[in-house]
């Protein structure tokens, strides 16, 4: 974990209520796709957790959706604004646990961390398939970018306005996959785990007090005992959760 003062480089809409937030600052703390930042927003006491969508030396990319008051206010922040963040939080996706044909499954604001994950898997020569689920075409993002990495991308929307009609499960070719990595709403993750017996890693979301293990605010109950999403997660082996 590292505390970094980032400066906003870009904060622009890319889909309905969805923004691309490019930040300048030290990114050395990020080690794994699926790790997150805990971002301090002016006027709010608690920080907001966001997955790292991608990073390079000195630059971090987040993609956020306006969900409540804090993210609504974030939209108004202009380039040049400084934002304090705790970086490199949590345990991300374990690339060594990924097989040769991993299936990446993302729903809604669970999609961003899959970008970095796909990038690293492609770099390791894996055949990467990506299944994305959105409510409607207007909500979709990162589709082209993931394709540009060389991943095979399939999209489902609930109303059929883009790709298949249905949930992301409709476009999950689990048969040909060696394993899966998934991030999205809990209901989606559970449905996915129910639908396949493939080995897999899932990234969970929980309301957080601290984001680095101090408060027990983000605990998820597992057969192995209570685990902290911010510390033992956010990415868990499905076996650990027994989902």
């Amino acid at each position: 974990m590292r505390q970094t003062a980032f400066t906003i480089l870009e904060n622009t809409p890319i889909a309905r209520d969805t923004y691309r937030l490019r930040l300048a600052g030290d990114t050395a703390a990020f080690k794994q796709p699926g790790q997150f930042v805990n971002l301090s927003l002016p006027g709010y006491y608690l920080r907001r957790p966001f997955s790292a969508c991608d990073w390079q030396k000195g630059e971090l990319l987040l993609i956020y959706k306006v969900l409540g008051q804090g993210t609504a206010d974030l939209v108004a922040l202009r380039p040049g604004t400084r934002l304090d963040a705790l970086c490199g939080l949590g345990r991300g996706f374990d690339l060594n646990a990924c097989g040769r044909q991993p299936l990446l499954v993302g729903g809604g604001v669970g999609v961003p961390p899959l970008y970095r994950l796909a990038r690293e898997l492609v770099a390791r020569g894996r055949t990467v398939r990506v299944a994305l689920g959105f409510n409607t075409a207007a909500d979709a993002f990162l589709v082209g970018e993931l394709q540009a990495l060389g991943a095979q991308v399939r999209v489902a929307t609930l109303d059929g306005s883009l790709g298949e009609r249905g949930t992301v499960l409709a476009v999950c070719d689990a048969d040909s996959a060696s394993d899966f990595c998934a991030c999205g709403p809990t209901a989606m993750l559970k449905a996915l785990c129910a639908a396949t017996r493939l080995p897999g890693q899932v990234s969970l979301e929980e309301r957080m007090g601290c984001g680095f293990g101090a408060c027990m605010g983000c605990t998820v109950m597992t057969p192995a005992g209570p685990l902290r999403v911010c510390r033992e997660g956010p990415v868990f082996d499905r076996e650990v959760l027994a989902w």
Partner: protein, 303 residues
């Protein structure tokens, strides 16, 4: 050179800053960030007789200048705290640690305290009679003077360590509870625990937290905490450990002027993991700015 040392029940602290229970785990998540020996001490997570998984999620709700928590005393239980956590604490912290004891019956408090009493690393027992986030017990002890007195008496008989009773702010007259604890042999009082609060989720139209209410902490409660420390200072002769919203060296000084001998920092650790060393580092400058050469001299100085 300014002098930041204080004495809490005969145990010397290099400075009055103690990380508050429940915001510092057992220290392990902070040890990689800075040398914990910079702290006056820390109070570890509320420890119960049996292990506890805590409450369902979500456990956290944001508030203006603070947060609600409903952790529900998640902890590994006193046996594991002694067998696993204390040895790990020893590896990163050389000083006496404060043991925060929680319970659901007087018997619980006593048997947890007895076991911790035998631990050399433990400098003080801090008896949490004020946790609002558990059903049956906890806060009920802290909102009734007679019961607070009974817990104090029972635990007093079980320990020779300095005995600190942690008071609840959710009362009409905190001095009444404080006096009952003093009468039954407490060595010090710590205050305040969290204030009972509620937030609703406008989307589901239900409370955000699973059991409705949670405990409010953070800067929002600072003026209430200062008032209670002030009142209790006038009501008893015991040293006080003040807390509630402390986030800066100036807050530490204000708390001590109100009557605190030592000061705990809680929620601030959550939003700034380096809050405690930052505050400790700011202290000499803030003291100099206000003409304070020795912190001990200002305890209760505003009375």
């Amino acid at each position: 050179m300014v002098d930041t040392r204080v004495d809490l029940c005969g145990v010397a602290l290099s400075n009055p800053v103690i990380a508050a229970s429940g915001t510092f785990g057992f220290g392990q998540d902070f040890a990689p960030l800075y040398d914990l020996n910079q702290l006056g001490s820390f109070s570890f997570k509320g420890t119960t007789w049996l292990p506890r998984e805590g409450n369902p999620s979500p456990r956290i709700a944001e508030c203006p200048a603070g947060l609600l928590n409903a952790i529900g005393l998640q902890n590994p239980g006193v046996h594991k705290v002694i067998s696993e956590e204390l040895p790990r604490i020893r590896q990163v912290f050389d000083k006496p640690v404060m043991a925060n004891v929680s319970g659901f019956s007087i018997e619980d408090y006593v048997r947890v305290s007895e076991l911790l009493d035998a631990q050399a690393q433990v400098g003080w027992l801090e008896i949490n009679i004020s946790c609002p986030n558990v059903h049956g017990g906890g806060m009920a002890f802290g909102t009734d003077a007679r019961m607070a007195g009974e817990v104090t008496r029972a635990v007093r008989a079980a320990t020779r360590k300095p005995l600190i009773i942690k008071l609840s702010p959710n009362v009409t007259d905190i001095t009444e509870i404080a006096r009952a604890c003093e009468a039954e042999g407490a060595d010090a009082l710590s205050l305040i625990n969290t204030l009972l609060g509620l937030r609703l989720n406008l989307k589901t139209r239900k409370p955000l937290l699973p059991f409705g209410t949670g405990g409010l902490s953070g800067p929002a409660v600072l003026p209430i905490a200062l008032r209670m420390v002030w009142q209790v200072y006038e009501a008893v002769r015991l040293p006080l450990v003040g807390m509630g919203g402390v986030s800066s060296a100036r807050d530490v000084i204000e708390m001590m002027l109100a009557g605190a001998t030592a000061v705990q920092v809680g929620s601030a650790n959550l939003i700034d993991p380096w809050a405690c060393p930052r505050i400790i580092h700011q202290l000499p400058g803030a003291m100099a700015q206000h003409g304070i050469s020795c912190l001990r001299d200002i305890i209760g100085g505003a009375h």
